[in-house]
Amino acid sequence: MEPAINWPDLQGNILRGYRKHFVRHLVLTVDRPAAACRWLADATSGDDSRTPQITTAQPWSGDKPTSCVNIGLTASGLAKLGVSPASIASFPHEFVAGMPSRSKLIGDTGPSDPSGWKREWQDHERIHLMISVHADNAAIRAAVADRIMAASGAFRLLAALDGEDFPGGKVHFGYRDSISQPQFYGVHGPDNRRDDQPLVEIGAMLLGYATPVEDIRWRVPSPHVLGFNGSFNAFRVLEQQVEQFEQFLSECADRLMTDPVGKRLLPPGEEKKWTPPMSRRDALREMVAAKMLGRWYNGVPLEMSPHSPSPQPPIGEEKLNDYGYSHDPDGQRCPIGSHMRRSNPRDAKIVQRNTNHARRIIRRGIPYGPMYDPALPVKAERGLLGSFMCASLTSQFEALQYDWTNLGLIDPRITGTNDPILGNNEPLHSRFTFPVGEEKVTFRGFPHFIHTRGGAYLFQPSISAIRYLASLGDGKAARKSSGAAYVD
């Protein structure tokens, strides 16, 4: 029998998003392990006066707090806190090896190669801990982060990565983000289901439970108190080449303006029926962008509205995920090679027949850097601070990146092509094809629009596990400070 989910034992950022508009990720080296352990004990003590508390998944009884705090540790961070080599060896090999060592597998090559990552990510062994502060505004974010750093005296700051929501939940490239997330048995019932996609076993996200892969259970690292209810986070700093992306859309639109297939893709005059009406060139730009992603900029899925971002009657917010691909086997509405359809094939026929729902991950991202304004283009680094959470990095995050994002193994008609937005593309070989009736449109020669600039595989321990880690400092820290002993 499956254990019941112990909500107060889970970190709060795993199964739900806080929807805070401001985030700061503190990337840290542990300088003084004993002090770090004391901070972990204080941060799970229930006493906010010592240091901001790590937010649990316990449902909020009243108003949402104005800030939330969560942590993730690398394998070297666990070792630094005193976790034994035998215990670390019980963690999955890809986590212990670290994200940079998996670069070719996950497509971090060329401009995304770890050798070109930002300075703070270069020495992977020094990255021990990431504390994430989610806040309602920038002032609260800064205050909470400052309190953490002031209270601990244990950490050296390698980087403080700030992300801020854009209006309308959009991200760079202009798409609305965070519309679809997995829903889980035991978490989402008839009253709080967000869409009609199949529920996924909680073991896709937390260690110690049944997984979506039939009968398979991932190993819970030892000791059990450390591994159980934990989760992994592939944290990535993804720089987006917005100017190149915009230029590519313009080139595609220019071609479609003169190519007869453009008229079949978007019958002349249709763009005037959109809300708001658009010039034909702008509409074709948006059409290409939608084909690449699988949704229009405003989040309306192509599968539900293939010809217009503003269908009549409008599609309600609660219906934006109620679709599948089984009625669109050739990708006439949503291209098989689009980002969304590759990443989550839903009910489509795919090559690896038992993995339709087995590789689902939780994606939480927030933009960083200034919003791009084509009328006033400012050269600046901009992108996404992305957390990709799952229970098995290799069978979910890495399998997605390797098999589907970059190899296109999911369907023979796209094998050998990469995700047009996220994929490891280079102009000599890149190709994105979609059908328009009996014809095909193919765009070639586009670059890698998203460059990885840093990242780490993090373990997100349960609250019990954090108390266990705290106890490694002096053997008693957790019990002294919280009065709540961990249970192995």
């Binding site: 999955p92 009968d215 259970r217 190993r219 069978s395 890495e398 970059n406 193994l409 023979p412 008609r413």
Partner: protein, 212 residues
Amino acid sequence: MTIWAKISAFLRRIMETVLVAFWRKVAPVKTPEPEYSTALADNLQMHMNLVMPLADQTAVGRAQAVQAVAANIDELFTGLSNVGTVHFARFDLVGGNLCMYSVFDGDFRAYIRDFISVFGSVFDALLGLVADPPPSPSALHPEEFIDWIHRHDAFQIPRDLTSLFPEERNIKNLSRDLVLLLDANRNVQIGRFSGYPGVSVAQIRHGTGMGW
């Protein structure tokens, strides 16, 4: 063979054994981990050459292995078909080893995970005949199972032998390094050929109208 030739061969074998033991101690080589590549042809039609020593290598034990595979052959083949990424798979007895050779598309670990989920229970039964098997059932110990398969997968020697030892600075040592590599890896794949490189099994099925 004359008596002198036999003595000479015997002495040579002794010297080789001593020399390899000496080399192993003073100049060990590490078996390289498989390198990932972004080239399409390097990610399709991957090979797995699983060599599993039988616990009982007598004719009786080998006959049991044949019977165990034969009894489950339909389930194994259905499972392999359902994985969706397998071009070919063969079950052989070579000496005292039960071998499974297969050609598949994509990541090795993803392949083995799919393998567990579609016919892990059948494979668990076969592993009951193998010496030093992984923990059973594989579904509850997927990481250990995958690591075990990886250890029993014959090392694949690349076309360019020198790429095996990127740290080696003296070309004269390459022969020694190769001897030590083979000392550590009894079973190796020496070369492979494909008549249609860079094509997935689903593309072949799709292209030939077999359905994928």
